[in-house]
């Protein structure tokens, strides 16, 4: 009997210790998700180590977690500036940065599913739509009104603040943005080439550059948005709505313009416009190719102006997208690829400090805009900050600013698209076109299926 008792106790001890071992993992699990996102920069790592302070009474320190990009100068400079400004305006508030992972929202959706959303998070249109359904995103209409956010919003960006249902779910800091077709002026001059206006001119440039061992256009096709933009800059020459109209369903990819655009892209790919391994090239590799003079052209957003100017100085410029003929080229100067989106800082309604978080989110948005104007020389922000840049705007930005009043239509970047099935299809199918291994007919057929 005694032995039985001893053996039973021994067994129970083993069982209990095993189960305790299992449950013991719950505490570190709370920090697992943020830790997973700390891969971007050492600076970010140190920031995430900050300890969370409990809110007790008014005047005590409150730490708000914030999930946002912190990867390069374009994202680090505004964040650091906002944190500095926050210390003065809200001395009792500290931010605990969780660096946004480039994972298609996987981390944020997982945090949402487990009820661990950060207090403030950077949300794209897709996330806003998803979290709206699950009530995990705060309606910010009142805060936008009380803080004066709506008054500071440029008229051209008013639409960006509102979601499809007419509510404000995020404070956008980026204004209307544009896909620019950059080119290396020096390389064009050295090779006796003029900026291409038509696709025939472009084909000639491709031939000359390829003959000299220069990549005509470096694309970072590993990122689907870049290949989608590469298609969009051609599509907008035939149908001004571009991929935006396809996303909204007001046009079909089987329409003549879109089919012609796909065929033209197929032709340009066959001629060798992009590097052979474009679909496995990342941003750093493609940018390096362009900045080092190995590639003559590059497609990216206007946010690249600062970096391109820093490296290439006066040797870099952007061109209006080439078109089928000169008349279309001139007419198309008013139609740009790119555009604004409802993306911005959103707030977790279940946050212990939701009201404060909403105020802080608005404050940070404002400071982001200021930093982008002052230190990134980018006036294309959502809000009128009244700030001036710390030095003169780069020539390319001046050119863009002069062009802005003439722009009559824009499309969207992929992160602004609302139909996620179409978004997925346009990114992968345009990548297929860029690879040169999928035909324009396959492209049209598969995108049509997703529409």
């Amino acid at each position: 009997m005694k032995k039985k008792l001893v053996s039973a106790i021994a067994c129970m001890t083993v069982a209990a210790s095993t189960l305790v071992g299992c449950t013991g993992s719950s505490a570190p699990a709370d920090t697992a998700a943020p830790a997973e996102t700390q891969t971007e920069t050492p600076a970010a790592e140190t920031k995430t180590e900050e300890t969370k302070t409990e809110e007790t009474a008014s005047g005590d320190k409150v730490t708000l977690s914030i999930y946002t990009q912190y990867a390069d100068d374009d994202t680090k400079v505004p964040y650091d500036y906002a944190v500095e400004q926050l210390k003065e305006a809200y001395p009792n508030v500290e931010l605990n940065l969780i660096v946004q992972a480039q994972d298609d929202g996987q981390t944020l959706k997982t945090l949402a599913a487990t009820g661990q959303l950060p207090d403030i998070y950077q949300a794209s249109t897709d996330l806003i739509n998803t979290f709206r359904e699950s009530n995990q995103i705060m309606v910010l209409n009142d805060v936008a009104q009380s803080t004066g956010f709506l008054d500071k919003l440029y008229d051209a960006n008013k639409d960006l603040a509102y979601a499809e249902d007419g509510n404000i779910y995020a404070f956008p800091f980026s204004g209307q943005e544009y896909v620019l077709w950059y080119y290396n002026k020096a390389l064009f001059e050295e090779n006796g080439l003029e900026v291409p206006k038509t696709y025939d001119d472009l084909l000639n440039c491709i031939e000359v550059f390829k003959g000299k061992g220069i990549t005509p256009l470096a694309l970072f096709g590993q990122e689907g948005w870049n290949t989608a933009a590469a298609y969009d800059v051609i599509a907008t020459r035939y149908a001004t709505g571009g991929i935006k109209a396809l996303d909204e369903g007001t046009a079909s990819v089987t329409d003549e313009g879109y089919v012609e655009a796909a065929k033209m892209m197929e032709k340009l790919v066959a001629a060798g416009l992009y590097q052979e391994d474009a679909t496995t090239t990342n941003y750093d590799q493609a940018s390096q190719k362009f900045l080092s003079g190995e590639a003559a052209m590059f497609i990216n957003g206007q946010w690249y102006i600062e970096d391109a100017t820093k490296e290439l100085g006066d040797n870099v410029d952007w061109m209006f997208y080439p078109a089928a003929d000169e008349a279309s080229y001139e007419a198309g100067k008013a139609a740009f690829s790119g555009g604004g989106s409802a993306s911005g800082f959103a707030v977790n309604p279940d946050s212990e400090n939701a009201a404060l978080a909403a105020e802080v989110a608005e404050f940070i948005t404002e400071k982001y805009c200021e930093a982008k104007v002052m230190y990134r020389h980018n006036p294309l922000v959502a809000l009128d900050t009244g700030k001036e840049p710390d030095s003169e705007y780069p020539a390319m930005m001046k050119k863009l600013s002069d062009t802005l009043p003439t722009i009559t239509s824009t499309t969207k970047f992929t992160w602004g698209l609302t139909n996620s099935t179409f978004n997925d299809a346009i990114q992968s199918e345009s990548q297929g076109l860029v690879s040169g291994q999928f035909t324009a007919d396959e492209f049209v057929e598969n995108v049509a299926d997703a529409q």
Binding site: S7, D103, G221, Q437
Partner: protein, 303 residues
């Protein structure tokens, strides 16, 4: 020991922790995967039952067939490569006369301890357009140049090779351990009978490692079907989803399209495929066991 085995409470208490862990972390989630695959769940909201809609869509999706083809290619390549080279290397270093066997034993295993990300970055640099491999051909004056990771049809073979290269060492370690457990008397007896080294390994080593091979086969084939990381890092599933697998389909549907129901339908098919493979492997090896049993009983009877 008999006393403990007769104590039902002891058996129960020893089994409960493992059973609970299995039920909570494996069995129930798998059941949930199947259940949610019949819904339009987006990962956050309350799911609505949609019947077979996700499965019908899945079977009509060209990427589903591409994914299955890729899985098959991937599984076959890693299985053949890993089992063949692991066996050859394990037999080679099990020869005590061989010089440098300790170094080789470590060298073959090193890729296993590296992170998959590191290995993929390494091979990504070698296989990229301007990478080491193409540069090597160039250095030797050859025009031969390949878009190793960007080719619609060939990329999957290259990705499978990267996986096989990394994990060969794992199977190598298993086979080395298996060889060590074979008594040396068998080889001595074979040598006395005039058996060559190669024949001794063919007749003794390989048959006696049947259980080890069974395990290796299961991990290789199911590993092939579950493949995701390498294609995610090396090609991003591209170009145009041509290096997708069912796991990648699941990831893409869940996180890019917020369509968990559809993604879980792909996952369900993947689970079924893995289970079928397990059943087939068990069936093949069980047949052999049964044959051996029959042979033994026949011998006993004739003796």
């Amino acid at each position: 020991m008999k006393k403990y085995m007769g104590n039902k409470l002891a058996i129960f208490l020893f089994v409960v922790p493992a059973l609970a862990v299995f039920l909570i972390f494996d069995f129930i989630p798998i059941i949930q995967v199947f259940a949610y695959s019949f819904t339009d769940w987006n990962g956050l909201t309350i799911p609505n039952f949609t019947g077979l809609k996700n499965y019908l869509e899945l079977f009509g999706d060209r990427v589903f067939y591409t994914s299955n083809r890729n899985q098959l290619i991937f599984a076959v390549i890693i299985t053949v490569y890993q089992m063949f080279f692991a066996t050859v290397f394990a037999i080679t270093i099990s020869d005590k006369k061989m010089k440098g066997r300790k170094f080789l034993r470590v060298a073959y295993f090193i890729p296993v301890i590296l992170s998959v990300t590191v290995v993929c970055q390494l091979w990504g640099a070698i296989l990229s357009g301007e990478g080491l491999l193409n540069k090597l051909f160039e250095a030797f004056g050859s025009d031969f140049r390949q878009n190793w990771l960007g080719d619609r049809y060939k990329a999957i073979y290259v990705i499978a090779f990267v996986n096989a290269w990394q994990w060969m060492g794992y199977q190598f370690a298993l086979i080395v351990a298996g060889i060590k457990s074979i008594p040396s008397d068998y080889y001595e007896a074979a040598r006395i009978d005039g058996c060559s080294n190669v024949k001794a390994h063919m007749k003794i080593t390989i048959p006696l490692l049947a259980e080890t091979y069974k395990f290796c086969l299961i991990i290789s084939l199911t590993g092939g079907i579950k493949a995701f990381t390498e294609m995610n890092i090396l090609t991003g599933g591209g170009p145009n989803k041509s290096t997708f697998t069912l796991t990648y389909m699941m990831y893409n549907a869940a996180f890019k399209k917020s369509n968990y129901g559809y993604g879980l339908a792909a996952a369900s098919i993947m689970v079924i495929e893995c289970m079928l493979i397990m059943l087939v492997i068990n069936f093949i090896f069980r047949e052999k066991d049964q044959k051996k049993e029959e042979e033994r009983s026949r011998r006993k009877r004739s003796a």
